[in-house]
């Protein structure tokens, strides 16, 4: 388990660097470190499906972030002293720590325990029930296909949103050009 703690420490360090560093490119690289460490953690916890998806989506996200931030002037705002915000942050953190101590005082169960009825059902019945040897695939596309439909709808909405917003900008610029010509 020691490697898990090392990777988690790496992720926390990457998050802090991503927030604190001034250079935007360095911040994006630090975010990439978080995603890579998370992917290795998924692999160590024996979830190769999630690890594959995580590393691939992280690559796309880092490419998009680098291309969107590089060579582009983004207004840098320096936030001044906010005593009220800092106070609320400390209060929230303190309450979270107290709640965690109260909850975990009696000790935690070991990882993956107790097994629930559903998680006992899938490994036994998935291969004979659906014919797919990848049990994760049989769950997300057969037993729980409604969830996948929702996920597909989320992506569909995101793409429609991006296409719509960007198209309206292009149209307006063309109209402006025509007005200028007239």
């Amino acid at each position: 388990m020691i490697e898990l703690y090392v990777l988690m420490g790496l992720m926390i360090a990457g998050a802090i660097i991503a927030i604190e560093v001034k250079n935007l490119l360095s911040a994006v690289v630090a975010v990439g470190v978080i995603g890579l460490a998370l992917s290795i953690i998924f692999l160590l916890l024996k979830a190769p499906d999630v690890a594959l998806t995580q590393i691939v989506v992280e690559i796309v996200a880092v490419i998009l972030l680098i291309r969107a931030t590089l060579h582009r002037e983004i207004a840098q705002k320096s936030c001044g002293h906010r005593p009220f915000g800092a106070l609320m942050g400390i209060l929230f953190l303190g309450l979270a720590v107290i709640a965690a101590i109260v909850t975990f005082a009696s000790g935690l169960n070991p990882f993956g325990e107790p097994l629930m009825t559903v998680s006992q059902f899938y490994p036994v019945n998935a291969i004979s029930g659906t014919g797919a040897t990848n049990v994760v695939s049989s769950i997300i596309l057969d037993y729980r296909a409604y969830d996948t439909l929702g996920e597909a709808t989320v992506l569909f909405t995101a793409v429609i949103g991006v296409l719509t917003v960007m198209r309206s900008v292009g149209k307006k610029k063309e109209e402006d050009l025509q007005e200028n010509n007239e």
Binding site: P48, D49, A51, L52, T53, V56, V57, I59, V60, I63, L64, R67, A68, I127, S128, T130, G131, A132, T133, N134, V136, S137, S138, I140, L141, D142, A145, Y146, T148, L149, A152, L155, F156, A158, V159, V162, L163, M166, G170, K173
Partner: protein, 151 residues
């Protein structure tokens, strides 16, 4: 040297991309088609397919892959994937319920042609994800760059 050669990254990156981009595309298709046998599936494979097109754009600069796979056709392919996924779910209504695995008796577990409609659903999701992500990349980055170059 034509003007096309000046765009994009150095000649080393271009040569390596020319050699590897087909393998990346093939690996994505492998992940999609074996989604019901090995780790991976429609989502991860679709993102890898989109990444192979993005890789071409990044290395060669400009609109190389926009010529192969234009913004209009990404929208068409994405809608096609969504319609395919939903129609598979609706055909199941005839056999027993929404998302019923009506093709299940075909093939044995562990073979490429098995698991009923799960591989077909993987293909539908991969069409959606690859076209959707590449469409976002095109609109956010490549076409924006053309706008700023026109000015």
């Amino acid at each position: 040297m034509s003007k096309e050669h000046d765009r994009g990254m150095s000649i080393i990156v271009k040569t390596v991309t020319r050699l590897t981009v087909g393998l990346i595309l093939l690996y994505g298709i492998y992940i999609i088609l074996h989604g019901h046998l090995t780790p991976g599936g429609g989502f991860a494979g679709g993102v890898i397919v989109a990444l192979s097109f993005i890789n071409l754009d990044l290395a060669f600069g400009g609109s190389i892959s926009a010529k192969i796979f234009s913004k209009g056709s990404t929208a068409v392919v994405e809608a096609l994937g969504a319609v395919m996924f939903l129609s598979l779910a609706l055909i199941g209504m005839k056999y027993g319920g929404f998302f019923d695995n009506f093709l299940h008796p075909d093939g044995n577990a562990g073979q490429l042609v098995s698991a009923g409609i799960i591989p077909l659903e993987n293909i539908a999701i991969s069409l959606k994800v690859s076209a959707g992500l590449f469409g976002i990349f095109l609109t956010l980055i490549v076409l924006q760059k053309f706008e700023s170059e026109k000015k």
